[in-house]
């Protein structure tokens, strides 16, 4: 037996606590989630069950007294919750997003917010406003310093857990100020607010996650202690932009869970038909897309620790790519199922639910266009970095998934990746290393060829990007196209490097046919960049997919047992 990929140790423990979701007697069962969705009821009992296991501690960095050793651990734990139900993952996981701003502040605010979270208080994140959406700079909620207190006034809308949450992290404009340094992040604890100084807004009825508390909150001179402000006055927007780098990365966990849920359902609903050529091809595409999401999200999570200065662009690429491709994955599986996806059987109901639920992941923390815009802004820096490759061994830590990461240092996150991204800068060295390996081991030739193709695409992208003029305020369409290409090439490069740095390590099963010749990389890159994919690679992937589904294992590059597979 291989050693567990470290984050999967926690995941298996949580699975053991939660039990088989197909068993209607367990608290967090599929049946319960469907029932609550139909009633548009918040999954309070399920969230309490997560609290009992200690999930809230994973929303607090270990350095602040919590259990979150790395973002990588948090990502995969959220994925485990999301694979059962996205409403629960979003409703419970929102506390991570609400709390995250505090980790950029001083010890006092860190301690205060950690205390709330560890006590199980849901924390929400009040960023958006009815009139301004993702345009945070236009925000009108104000904070004014009077009589030794901060006073909040204005309305935040479409806020997850605004009503249910005990505390809200509010992005507010300092009264009378303009510009990017005119904002504060202030934690408003409802328990400490004077009566009549706030009111929650009605729950919005939504397409999916129907039980979730999507509402809003309005403040009228609500007094908040001075100590509840994060960082220095006027640094709120910068805090939020850094915090978004962490939350955008974590959002990929929601997609990983949603994609897995849909893929497992499709396999079950198809039954013996799954092996028919057309169905097999579609299922394999979905599996490769899912593994691509797993790899790129995991590398991004490690980037938060190992290359934090790059996370501004890496998190945007992941947040753009993973929800988008997971929505497409679910849609294509629906096409494969045909009218069977609509017949009202228990699995069809769940499939419909996960399809509806997952549509919201793209909207969190900036939709796909907002994230592309974040990449567009850095295209000149990314193009310039192409001329500064780094040696392969130097970059391998990011992609060596068996190696531990250092502690998170939020203060090292930057608003731009001034030196480009390591994954792309290391690609020439990685491709060369693979070429050398393939010269000695013929079975690696297809993989080396794929790596060479990814490198060629990366170089082409660099040339194209370098030729672009800096984007004006009204960003032209071709800049968005370059940003889309960047995200795809980044993900493909991450796949190549993860194989190179991780194959043969302890978490990889020695007999896993996907790893031996890099079959999974060949298929993942095929899906990302349209490169050819050979039948032996497909066969290896099919063997793994069917075995993982049959044996109740997580659909992953690494072994991980799920509750339905038996935890003994």
């Amino acid at each position: 037996m291989p050693e567990r990929y470290p984050p999967f140790t926690d995941l298996e423990r949580l699975e053991s606590h939660l039990g088989d979701p197909h068993d209607e007697r367990v608290v967090f069962s599929h049946a319960a989630c469907v029932r609550l969705d139909a009633a548009e009821e918040f999954p309070g009992d399920i969230c309490a069950h997560l609290d009992r296991w200690g999930v809230p501690a994973y929303y607090v960095p270990a350095e602040c007294g919590g259990a979150l050793r790395t973002l990588e651990h948090g990502l995969h734990l959220l994925r485990a919750i999301a694979r059962r139900d996205l409403t629960v993952a979003i409703g419970h996981g929102k506390t991570f997003l609400g709390a995250v701003s505090a980790w950029f502040g001083g010890p006092e605010i860190q301690e205060l917010v950690a205390r709330w979270v560890l006590a199980g208080v849901p924390v929400s994140w009040g960023l958006t406003e009815r009139a301004h959406g993702s345009d945070l700079l236009a925000g009108e909620v104000t904070v004014e310093e009077t009589d030794g207190a901060l006073r909040l006034t204005g309305e935040k809308w479409l806020i997850n857990n605004a009503t249910r949450g005990g505390v809200t992290a509010v992005l507010a404009r300092v009264h009378g100020r303009e510009g990017p340094r005119a904002f504060d992040v202030v934690y408003a604890d409802k328990a400490g607010l004077a009566p009549g100084t706030f009111r929650t807004l009605p729950k919005e009825r939504t397409l999916g996650i129907r039980g979730a508390d999507i509402s809003g909150i309005a403040y009228t001179g609500a007094p908040v202690p001075e100590g509840n402000r994060v960082g220095e006055p006027g640094t709120g927007l910068e805090t939020v932009l850094r915090a978004l780098q962490l939350t955008r990365t974590m959002c990929a966990g929601l997609s990983l869970g949603g994609g897995e849920h849909a893929l497992r359902l499709a396999m079950s609903m198809l039954g013996p038909r799954a092996g028919e050529p057309e169905a097999r091809a579609r299922l394999l595409d979905a599996y490769a897309d899912h593994l691509a999401a797993e790899v790129v999200a995991t590398v991004a999570a490690r980037c938060a620790h190992l290359a934090p200065a790059e996370l501004s662009v890496v998190s945007a690429a992941v947040k753009y790519l993973v929800p988008l491709r997971t929505d497409a994955l679910i849609r294509r599986l629906g096409d494969l199922l045909g009218m069977a996806a609509w017949d009202g059987g228990p699995e069809a109901v769940r499939f419909d639910k996960v399809a509806r639920d997952h549509r919201i992941v793209d909207l969190f923390d900036g939709n796909r266009v907002v994230n592309l815009y974040a990449i567009v802004n850095q295209l000149p820096l990314l193009a310039a970095a192409c001329a500064r490759p780094v040696e392969w061994p130097q970059a391998a830590g990011l992609a060596a998934l068996d190696r531990p990461c250092p502690a998170l240092a939020p203060g090292r996150l930057r608003l731009v990746a001034a030196r480009g991204v390591t994954v792309l800068r290391a690609l020439p060295g990685a491709a060369e290393r693979l070429r050398e390996m393939a010269a000695r081991r013929p079975e690696l030739r297809p993989l080396a060829e794929v790596a060479a193709e990814v490198l060629a695409r990366a170089r082409s992208l660099c040339e194209r990007t370098a030729a672009l003029k800096p984007a004006p305020a009204l960003v032209p369409v071709e800049h968005f196209e370059a940003a889309e290409s960047f995200a795809a090439v980044f993900a493909a490069a991450a796949a190549v490097e993860v194989w190179l740095a991780t194959h043969g390590s302890k978490p990889v099963a020695a007999d896993d046919p996907r790893w031996a010749g890099g079959a999974w990389v060949r298929m993942v890159v095929h899906r990302l960049l349209g490169t050819p994919c050979d039948e032996p690679a497909r066969e290896a992937m099919w063997t793994a997919l069917t075995a993982q589904h049959r044996e109740g294992m997580l659909l992953s590059l690494f072994p991980c047992r799920l509750a339905e597979g038996g935890m003994g």
Binding site: A138, L207, L337, A341, V477
Partner: protein, 375 residues
Amino acid sequence: MRAAGSLAAWMPGGAGPPQSVEYMRALRPLFRRDSAAGMSLLGAVVRPAVAARMAAGQEVFDEVGAHVTGGAECAYADEGVTAEARDGRIRLYGRGVPVLNGARGSLLVAVVRSAGAPWLAVADGTGTPRTRGIGCDAVDLDGVPVRVRAPLPGADPPYVVSGALIAGGAVGGVDDALRTVLRFALSRELYGTTVARLPHARGLLAGAYADLLIADALARAAVTADAPGAGAATWAATRLLTGILRDLATLLGARFYLREGPYAGFGAHWRALRALRAACGDPRRCTPGAIPPAAELAALAGHPPPLPPGVSVVSRLSHLDAEVRTPLAPDAADPLLRDLTARLESGVSLDLDPTPVDTHTPIPPDRGDDQGDMS
């Protein structure tokens, strides 16, 4: 709709396919107001009527025709129904899925595929156990006697022909969705300007308009073409229409996800038309060989809509199933947007045959868990 005689083409005495373009167009005002109601016609009327017309049996044709023209609805089971002879009668068994409009249909029209060539059975649909579905119901059959029956021609033409009609009608629903999002984009301020001035948004809006015109051309071709062209055109039209809705949802942002409020009508169309790909554009039934390349699909469109330089029917049909469609560049987007905005302001439809529309279309009320309920 029925009072206007739009169903007459498919009923006894009607001319059949030659009138189908008119019927398809007649469905559009209904879809514009409520796509769920439009989709419900698929199972209640259109599919059983088309199947009855195509079946080789006058009794079947007469019975379904009398039922439908009398204002009643059918329940149409497409898969899962078998038949056996017992007690001197042919009886139906199995779980019929999907029973489009199964909740209300009092006449059960079922395709039986148990052995040999498929045939159409007509039976009393009252009293059979129904399972409430997402967009359709299932019906459990345990010996329901067949009243009349008739063989169906091969290659599944009832699915393709009725699917083409409904997909063509759905152009009306997507027309209304595009109208809604254009109004939003023209009025919504973001980053110091309106959404409609952002190049990415302009490219998506213009692309949606181009795709709507192409979908209309394909649907018109589909309802008059022979298989397999009809199937391929329908398949492509359903992909275009659902792709438009995805792009428009991106533009609408979080409001797309809300079932109430000023843009709830968009979400109602989105929910209702989610089933369009499976109900009308299933590739296994529309293009059972292989999906034709974009150039062949473009040729099926017959008379291509007028498009500006920089955008072609082939290019729009080249990436129908891509995760994301590239927004049109300004030289292609600007003329399309001018035309689109002019049509919005003058209150005419956005399809190939601009006709006046009610510019104050009421937003369909939220239906709770309807999810594009076809009943």
